[in-house]
Symmetry: C2
Subunit: 224 residues, 2 copies
């Protein structure tokens, strides 16, 4: 029995219904209300959300593009499972992409400055960590990466990273760890921030890559 009762169009935006359905299903998957492997039956969802199958189908196809759902022709759509292999792949891809983002950010700072937002976020993370404020630390972490992606000045890369970030969120949910990470993670963020502020692109990339490599190893050790 699926927990369809937790899925609702209420919180969503005001665009076309397919968009609202998409956001509702996306939330449900990210919050694990729809668990990995769960089937997304069009008729069932349609009657529950009081819309026709058409917007349901569009939403499912979009979730498929996001990598959150797997679609098998004439068979159905299923919430993608996060196997050990897929977790590894996601973190490896993040390493490549965010390393590149750090490199670009450092180069941009070297050319025209503007590192303040990133530094402020890094400082906020440190303070939240010292206070033991998990919520504030998670918020600061989100802000840190938003600032990094802004500095990288690459919409394509930012979009790819946003998709990955959602998957990472799901993994965190699985391993039941806080998103901001531990003390080591904190120091790596600060080191990356310093390298970017110094305009040292190669170092920024290397530090960021090592960070993701460590997080990957650590996370995989928590999985079966």
């Amino acid at each position: 029995m699926n927990k369809l009762e937790t899925i609702s169009l209420e919180g969503g935006g005001d665009g076309p219904q397919s968009m609202r359905v998409y956001e509702a299903l996306r939330r449900a998957i990210l919050r694990s209300d729809l668990q990995p492997g769960a089937a997304l039956q069009e008729t069932e969802l349609a009657s529950h959300l009081q819309v026709s199958r058409t917007p349901i189908r569009e939403a499912i196809r979009r979730l498929n593009a996001d990598g959150l759902v797997e679609v098998i022709p004439y068979k159905g759509a299923f919430v993608k499972a996060l196997s050990r292999t897929e977790v590894r792949e996601i973190y490896e891809t993040a390493e490549g992409l965010e390393g590149m983002a750090a490199w670009l950010a450092a180069r941009k700072v070297a050319a025209e400055g503007g590192v303040e937002r990133l530094q402020k976020a890094a400082q906020a993370m440190r303070e939240a960590f010292d206070r033991g404020d998990v919520v504030a630390r998670t918020e600061a972490d989100t802000e840190f990466h938003a600032a990094l992606h802004e500095l990288a000045d690459n919409a394509y890369l930012a979009q790819a990273l946003a998709r990955l970030r959602e998957q990472v969120h799901r993994v965190r949910h699985l391993t039941a760890r806080a998103f901001g990470g531990n003390a080591a993670s904190l120091e790596e963020h600060e080191a990356a921030c310093r390298a970017i502020a110094d305009g040292d692109a190669e170092l920024a990339r290397t530090i960021t890559q090592k960070h993701w490599e460590r997080v990957r190893t650590e996370t995989l050790s928590l999985l079966p």
Copy 2:
């Protein structure tokens, strides 16, 4: 006046019609039969391809996910333009992803070998280049990257790179250059291949990144 007459379902696979439409439109965009900015009108395409609007819509949404088409609600779908900014973003993203792929490939070779396919492709590229055989060189280049992605052993990364590769193809089409690249490109492929064969992951990554950085600079210098 759009060149719809060049779009056909003939060459496609045998899956659902939405899949065949998707492949037909994808081919048309990659071959520039549908030029950047062109509107994809559902009714027009439906009557031309002899299907209803439904599979047309599904195909368009999938192309949107691939980054080949831009969809604006209640307005329409348009073949994405390749502005200078987008070209830069695409090449930067490719640098991050393929650098990571090279790193992973080198690590895998160091652990369990299997570099033969990559070496063979690199050698084929060299021979085709010496003969001046552009077609063979392009084929060998495709094979080289396929071998690299196989060694990287990361389906998620491979899929992202496949999408990027299509965009790069479009850029090549714009700049009217052969895909395999010049002599410098050839040497960089060989150097990357050697680093991977040696199992030197960091070097493989660096060489691959430098390659894409050079190609990016070179390509951007050819655009307005």
